[in-house]
């Protein structure tokens, strides 16, 4: 229903004023909470973003796109993921990495990776479910997955989002050993 990053949070037009106020009170002051008038109101399904880049549903309004660029402070790209227009549900990414729909072809993966400037991998979550963002949520140091997620899926998620080393003190070490990348 909503999409946001460190700069702001976008909520659909159906949010009540009370809810809006509550959100503004709960979040830190730098985070701008904005209600947008958009026909496609399930913003979580339509927008996938991190702190620098956002992927949106190809049919999103121009004004919405400008709003996203303005409030979230990101570069907006209209894209599809493995032929699905609901980019927000079929892929999810953080500033470290991203996971996309398993049927994404290699060319698409490369293209998306170039756009987003993060490493991407095609995989599944919740025991083979293709709807990635509906099964997990992730930020730079933590990820939460559904109960059915198998060990293989967990290891893929950990490796692509770089969560294993993402303890606060490890980030500093990471910058030192920059040459060796680990993969499954």
């Amino acid at each position: 229903m909503c999409a946001g990053n460190k700069n702001g949070l976008l909520v659909p037009h159906s949010t009540t004023d009370q809810e809006l106020q509550h959100l503004r009170n709960s979040l830190p002051d730098q985070v701008i909470v904005q209600r947008i008038e958009e026909k496609l109101s399930a913003l979580g399904n339509c927008i996938a973003c991190n702190d620098h880049v956002a992927l949106t549903h190809p049919d999103l309004d121009r004004e919405t796109e400008d709003l996203i660029a303005d409030i979230l402070g990101v570069e907006v790209f209209r894209q599809t993921v493995a032929g699905n227009i609901l980019v927000g549900s079929y892929c999810t990414f953080s500033n470290k990495g991203g996971l996309v729909h398993p049927h994404t072809s290699i060319e698409d993966l490369d293209e998306l990776s170039t756009l987003l400037q993060v490493p991407l991998v095609a995989g599944t979550v919740n025991r083979g479910s293709e709807v990635i963002a509906a099964g997990m949520t992730v930020n730079d140091w933590t990820a939460f997955c559904g109960l059915d997620t198998t060990a293989t899926e967990l290891s893929v998620i950990e490796s692509v989002f770089k969560l294993r080393e993402a303890q606060p003190n490890m980030i500093v070490d990471e910058m030192r050993k920059s040459l060796i990348d680990s993969y499954v």
Binding site: G123, G128, T152
Partner: protein, 516 residues
């Protein structure tokens, strides 16, 4: 829009290489599929052959080697044959409704083990749309049980269910010899249990009413018949309301045979366009062909027309008398009537019994002008000397009976020369039970009839059309060159004969057809 539609519309599509994901259970790298699990994990989670039966049973009759399809049909099938495969799959159909059978084959089992194993490959949708294919083994147990007809047969081998009684009320058996050859040629008596000869006819016994009906249909197509059927109750099961009957078909063949002289009743003559009351019967198939020898007009009577107003023959071929031809005067040129050639002529003839003894010479009108030569012999009906006692003749007032009617050419002299030398061909016969109660006289008559029949076949190629003649391996052709000049004894040309295969009956039925 689907990718395939885009491609079909001619748009440029960049190449799409399918990437690989890790199987969510075991972690092995694999191309993505709807379930996103590798095949092994999928198969271990989902068993698509879950609801399928592993054992089934079949009922088998060892006598006639057929399998029971409930409730009552028995299907003949050999081990590991196509019919058996279809039969087994049909028995499994209600149980395999939820899977799709891609392939089915037999696994070899010992023939005496009473087990039939079938390996099926089934396809079914599992989880989120992934289609799995798996192989599944089913074992059929064969239970032995005699089918109804075999058990009835075992209990009483003479038990017949349907009988066909063929009768013809004439004093000779030529029609039955002819029919025997037809039946042999077309295999119409394949299903008979027994064949019994009776006075003036033959009885055929069948195990099934439909076989009898098929046989009766075959006979009706070969000769004009009138038939009726009756049934007799044998047993009655009041609980299931079933009745067992014995069916009898009484088939009467019309008494008119080839070469019979007939005096048509006035009504029939009128319906046929005032055909001269004296006619000769030229051919009997499923209709009777009649020829008026003085006007060369012919007519056909089929079974219904005949039995509507039946009539008997005036004189039959047993009463043919030999004539010697003294002179022939052609009246008209040779014409073709119904496939045979005739020519009107006046002939001066004398009976062979009179020839030399007295001067009885008859001038008769005949239809055989193209065959007769002075000095030749012919067979005909002696109306001058015959004592005619027929109702029909009396009905015609002022009918002028000719002295004689010539019917066919005689080869008697030539036959005398060749007597005892045998023929180059022979015929097969049905295995009938002969009714021997009437003694020697009948046997002699029967042998004469058969000899006449064989001569008939030799002389008429159109009769041979529906028969199979076999090469007689015992015949040695004589070294003396055949006759000088004039007519030769008609014989069957060699290319019409079939070489007989010297193998037993059982092997014959397995091989199917006889080699030519």
């Amino acid at each position: 829009m689907q990718m395939s539609d885009l491609a079909a519309s001619g748009m440029f599509l960049p190449s799409q290489t399918v990437g690989s994901v890790l199987c969510c259970i075991c972690g092995v790298s694999m191309p993505p599929n709807p379930a996103n699990m590798c095949v092994r994990c999928l198969r271990s989670r989902v068993d698509i052959t879950e609801g399928l039966p592993r054992h089934a049973s079949l009922v088998y009759c060892p006598e006639c080697r057929s399998y029971l399809q409930p409730p009552r049909t028995w299907i003949r099938a050999d081990l590991e044959s196509k019919e058996l495969l279809t039969f087994c799959l049909r028995r499994l159909k209600p149980l395999t409704r939820h899977v799709r059978i891609v392939n089915a084959e037999f696994v070899w089992t010992e023939p005496h083990s009473k087990r039939i194993k079938l390996r099926l490959r089934v396809q079914r949708e599992a989880l989120n749309g992934a289609i799995l294919e798996q192989s599944h083994l089913i074992e059929f147990t064969q239970h032995d049980n005699l089918c109804e007809s075999c058990s009835r047969f075992q209990a009483n081998p003479d038990q017949w269910v349907a009988a066909v009684q063929l009768r013809q009320h004439v004093s000779h058996r030529r029609t039955f010899f002819h029919l025997e050859q037809l039946i042999l040629r077309h295999g119409a008596a394949a299903r008979t249990l027994r064949i019994k000869e009776a006075d003036r006819g033959v009885d055929f016994f069948f195990g099934n009413r439909s076989h009898a009906i098929k046989f009766v249909d075959f006979i009706s197509g070969s000769v004009p018949v009138q038939s009726r059927s009756d049934k007799q109750l044998v047993s009655h099961d009041p609980k299931s309301n079933t009745y067992n009957y014995k069916h009898t078909f009484s088939v009467e063949i019309c008494p008119i045979c080839r070469e019979d002289l007939i005096c048509l009743p006035p009504k029939v003559a009128n319906t046929l366009g005032n055909l001269g009351p004296l006619v000769l019967c030229t051919k009997v198939s499923n209709s009777i062909a009649l020829l008026d020898p003085f006007t060369l007009r012919s007519a056909y009577l089929d079974a219904k027309q005949y039995w509507g107003s039946p009539f008997k023959a005036l004189l039959s071929s047993r009463q043919l008398v030999e004539y010697i031809i003294l002179d022939v005067e052609m009246e008209s040129s040779e014409i073709s009537v119904g496939g045979s050639k005739y020519a009107l002529a006046y002939a001066q003839v004398a009976r062979v019994s009179d020839f030399g003894k007295n001067d009885n010479i008859f001038t008769v009108r005949t239809h055989l002008g193209h065959l007769l030569n002075p000095g030749g012999y012919a067979l005909g009906y002696d109306l001058y000397g015959a004592n005619i006692n027929d109702f029909e003749v009396d009905k015609y007032k002022g009918l002028d009976l000719p002295h004689a009617i010539l019917v066919k050419k005689s080869y008697e002299e030539k036959r005398q020369k060749r007597r005892g030398k045998g023929r180059s061909w022979k015929l097969k016969s049905l295995n009938m039970e002969i009714d021997n109660t009437n003694g020697k006289m009948d046997e002699e008559k029967r042998a004469n009839d058969y000899e006449e029949f064989l001569r008939d076949i030799e002389e008429n190629p159109e009769l041979r059309f529906n028969m199979s003649l076999y090469h007689n391996n015992d015949y040695q052709p004589s070294e003396i060159a055949s006759t000088v000049g004039g007519d030769e004894l008609p014989s069957v040309p060699l290319d019409e004969l079939i070489a007989e295969l010297a193998i037993s009956d059982e092997e014959e039925s397995n091989c199917g057809s006889m080699a030519e």
